[in-house]
């Protein structure tokens, strides 16, 4: 039997994954949630038909969005995570003993429920006593916060759906205001390859540059995302992502990672020429 899940990366490019079994399909108040069992990528979570994570390659995303800031700012104790209802980001963060408090703000409770049931590898640390989950609109949550967090991780869906508000100047400004004077914001910044994605990436970079004194972009190779090529934003009030990298301190944690290394950390900020140019255009 031929059963395939396909995602349009552009109207003219399709990415397909063979499916063994459709495990879960629900329409929540915000989006359609699907989980598939696939031979190549293990379980796959899709929101509104867009792949959010696969068991096979989620480690790349979750390691790169967490360990990069954690190895730069050694004083991170209070963290706000926005989105990330699958639990992968929280799983990585809870590996650090120094983390005291994680607020996770997810709009859609059904995503968390579905991931707890079908993606235990990601959701396994959601019950850690340091993790506090709020089912709320992130903009509403964060505009009440001031000088409260050392790190904010924005793990949103793409900027054309219900997460649109997380790519706006008002949101980045609210994040700036919610961070302490040496705080860092890391966000998933989309892909620079296809035109529509690239324009959205430029727009959000422009807004972050307007908001934070230090704003850099780093990259990772993620096979199931559009073009297999993904970007993250590193925005900071004080720390520079490469100059302030403390590799020795990070190594003392003895964390085994499969993608992230402190050497790759620096390398991830060295960008191809076309991307440098795109970023410069809006800086």
């Amino acid at each position: 039997m031929e059963l395939w899940f396909s995602e349009l990366h552009t109207p003219d490019v399709k990415h397909s994954i063979r499916v063994n079994k459709h495990l879960y399909s629900q329409q929540s108040d915000y989006q359609r949630i699907d989980i598939f069992e696939t031979p190549e990528f293990g379980r796959v979570l899709a929101l509104d038909g867009n792949v959010m994570l696969t068991e096979r390659d989620e480690f790349i995303y979750d390691e790169m969005i967490t360990h990069v800031p954690m190895s730069v700012h050694q004083g991170i104790k209070d963290i706000l995570v926005i989105g990330a209802g699958d639990g992968g980001v929280v799983r990585e963060l809870t590996r650090y003993d120094r983390v005291e408090h994680i607020d996770l703000v997810e709009m859609d409770p059904q995503v968390v429920e579905a991931c707890r049931a079908y993606l235990p590898g990601n959701a396994c640390r959601m019950d850690d006593c340091r993790v506090h989950i709020y089912f709320e609109n992130a903009l509403k949550f964060i505009r009440r916060c001031e000088n409260k967090y050392d790190l904010i991780i924005v793990d949103s869906t793409d900027p054309f759906g219900p997460s649109e508000g997380l790519f706006t100047l008002e949101f980045y400004g609210n994040c700036f205001n919610a961070l302490r004077e040496d705080g860092i914001m890391v966000n998933q910044q989309g892909s620079p390859f296809y035109k529509q994605d690239a324009e959205a990436m430029q727009r959000s970079h422009k807004r972050i540059v307007q908001t934070f004194p230090i704003s850099k972009v780093y990259q990772a190779h993620i096979p199931t995302y559009a073009a297999g090529y993904w970007l993250f934003g590193f925005a900071s009030k004080k720390y520079h992502p490469i100059n302030d990298l403390d590799a020795e301190a990070w190594k003392k944690h003895n964390l085994r990672t499969r993608y992230y290394t402190t050497q790759l950390h620096a390398g991830a900020f060295y960008l191809p020429a076309f991307l440098e140019e795109m970023l410069k255009e809006v800086e």
Partner: protein
């Protein structure tokens, strides 16, 4: 007498929409206007607007009726609209609510007649006076000192105006104002009728009042004789489509004649079908929809007031007279206490945050909420306002509060508009009689109307509003450095 009461009216129907669908199926060969012939002759336009849209941009013909003299599907659509809005008759309008307001005034007044109205009327009302030669009798609205906005008409003031001008033919009421403020319409209707005058309502901002629970009374429910209803605002129809409603004591045939004086003979079926479909939606789902809109506005008010500095005002303004009621679907915010003029906040929202709101004036902004809004966009608006306060607030030095300036009417708008005139630099025009309009648009409420005396206070206000970035319109000189005054 309700002309539609003898028929069975089914609000699930949309006769114009249905006729257009049927017409599409018939594949009629067009040897009539419009010349684009279902879009074939203008592929770039078709590409832009879509085949669905240009395919029903058609001309009046037998199966589709004619707006100038409706006898079939347009007539049925008007009957359904009248039924949905509780009116004796409803006219589909395609020239904006401006045309509804003007037809309402032209149907009531003739040259030299007096009409009683609040000064904070829309320019379309005074334009109608220029056309017909009627003379305005202004009831000066009370002004809220803190907010700097004009309120409704007080009952005693209306009574005094009626007593002093017993020959006036009509009283016109804004129901509600742009900001959502309502006068005591039922009482004003009674006073007008007792004095043998008509009561007209400008409901450009009040379509939803016909389908609300907990909202102010609509003009037809209050017994008014005519109402201009901006379906394209809260009603959801296409821009430029509107309704004119009439009560049982108005002769519908005469109103049709008046409308036909200025209305196009090629009414757009895009506009008319949008009125038809929107009326059906309102009749079937309006109550639920506007309950949600009011809930969203209430939520946004609470959130904005929690930011601090801003004042999103609501029902607490109600005082039983000049604010007889408040339309809670309106989201107006007073901004002077964060040290920014409303127009400045309006500009920052658009330029920095990609958020377009309805208007900003000297002291307030107005965000227009409607059936198309979702909570996530409201969160953006509230967060952007919080950011603007954090990033841009000032101590407020040099900010003026909006003031109501009592107009001094020297001649009728028509006399002044057509009189011999000369152009003078702004400052030199003080003391003279203006022959043109000056207003910020939106909201489009005149600062000066034709026939009014120019004072230095008015010139100060114009210069201040311009310096803050208000978009000023009206005068022949687009930059408003000169004004036309009577010789």
């Amino acid at each position: 007498m309700n002309i539609s009461s003898n028929r069975h009216l089914d609000q699930n129907r949309a006769p114009i929409h249905e006729a257009l669908e049927q017409f599409r199926q018939m594949r009629v060969v067009p040897f009539d206007v419009p010349g684009h012939k279902r879009g074939r002759g203008n592929p770039e336009l078709t590409e832009f607007l879509g085949q669905q849209c240009v395919g029903v941009d058609v001309n009046s013909m037998k199966p589709l009726d004619n707006l100038c003299h409706p006898i079939s599907v347009i007539q049925q659509a008007e009957e359904l609209a009248a039924d949905a809005f509780g009116a004796a008759h409803a006219f589909l309008m395609v020239g904006g609510t401006t045309s509804s307001v003007q037809s309402m005034v032209l149907a009531s007044c003739k040259r030299g007649d007096e009409i009683i109205l609040p000064r904070n009327v829309h320019r379309s009302v005074i334009n109608a006076l220029v056309l017909c030669g009627a003379v305005p009798v202004y009831v000066n609205p009370e002004v809220d000192q803190r907010l700097g906005i004009s309120l409704g008409m007080q009952r005693e003031q209306v009574a005094r105006a009626i007593k002093e001008h017993p020959n006036a033919v009509a009283v016109l009421v804004n129901n509600p104002t742009y900001y959502g403020i309502c006068s005591d319409l039922r009482a004003i209707v009674k006073m007008a009728h007792d004095a043998g005058m008509l009561c007209l309502a400008d409901e450009a901002h009040g379509t939803h009042l016909y389908f609300g629970s907990g909202l102010p009374v609509s003009a037809m429910a209050a017994g008014a004789d005519m109402a201009a209803v901006s379906m394209h605002k809260s009603g959801g129809s296409l821009t430029q489509s509107s309704l004119l409603l009439t009560g049982p004591n108005v002769h519908a045939g005469y109103v049709r004649q008046i409308i036909n004086l200025t209305q196009t003979t090629s009414a757009s079926y895009l506009l008319m079908s949008s009125l038809d479909i929107s009326r059906r939606n309102l009749a079937l789902r309006g109550r639920k929809v506007f309950r949600q809109v009011a809930d969203m506005a209430d939520y946004a008010r609470d959130e904005i007031n929690e930011i601090g500095g801003y004042y999103a005002f609501g029902k607490e303004l109600v005082n039983g007279n000049s604010v007889f009621d408040f339309d809670t679907t309106k989201l107006s915010v007073h901004t002077l206490d964060i040290g920014l003029a409303g127009i400045e906040v309006y500009d920052i929202l658009r330029d920095e945050y990609d958020i377009q709101i309805e208007f900003g004036d000297i002291g307030n902004i107005l965000a227009y909420l409607s059936m198309g809004d979702r909570p996530q966009e409201l969160e953006r608006l509230v967060s952007a306002l919080a950011e603007i306060r954090r990033r841009y607030s000032t101590d407020g030095t040099g900010l003026l509060s909006q003031e109501y300036i009592d107009p001094v009417v020297v001649s009728s708008p028509q006399e002044a508009f057509y009189a011999e005139k000369e152009s003078l630099p702004l400052r030199e025009s003080v003391g003279r009689v203006c022959s043109e309009f000056v207003m910020c648009y939106p909201p489009g409420i005149p600062i000066l109307a034709p026939g009014e005396r120019i004072t230095s206070q008015i010139i100060d206000y114009i210069e201040y509003a311009r310096s803050k970035g208000c978009s000023m319109t009206g005068p022949e000189d687009e930059e408003i450095r000169y004004l036309n005054v009577l010789k």
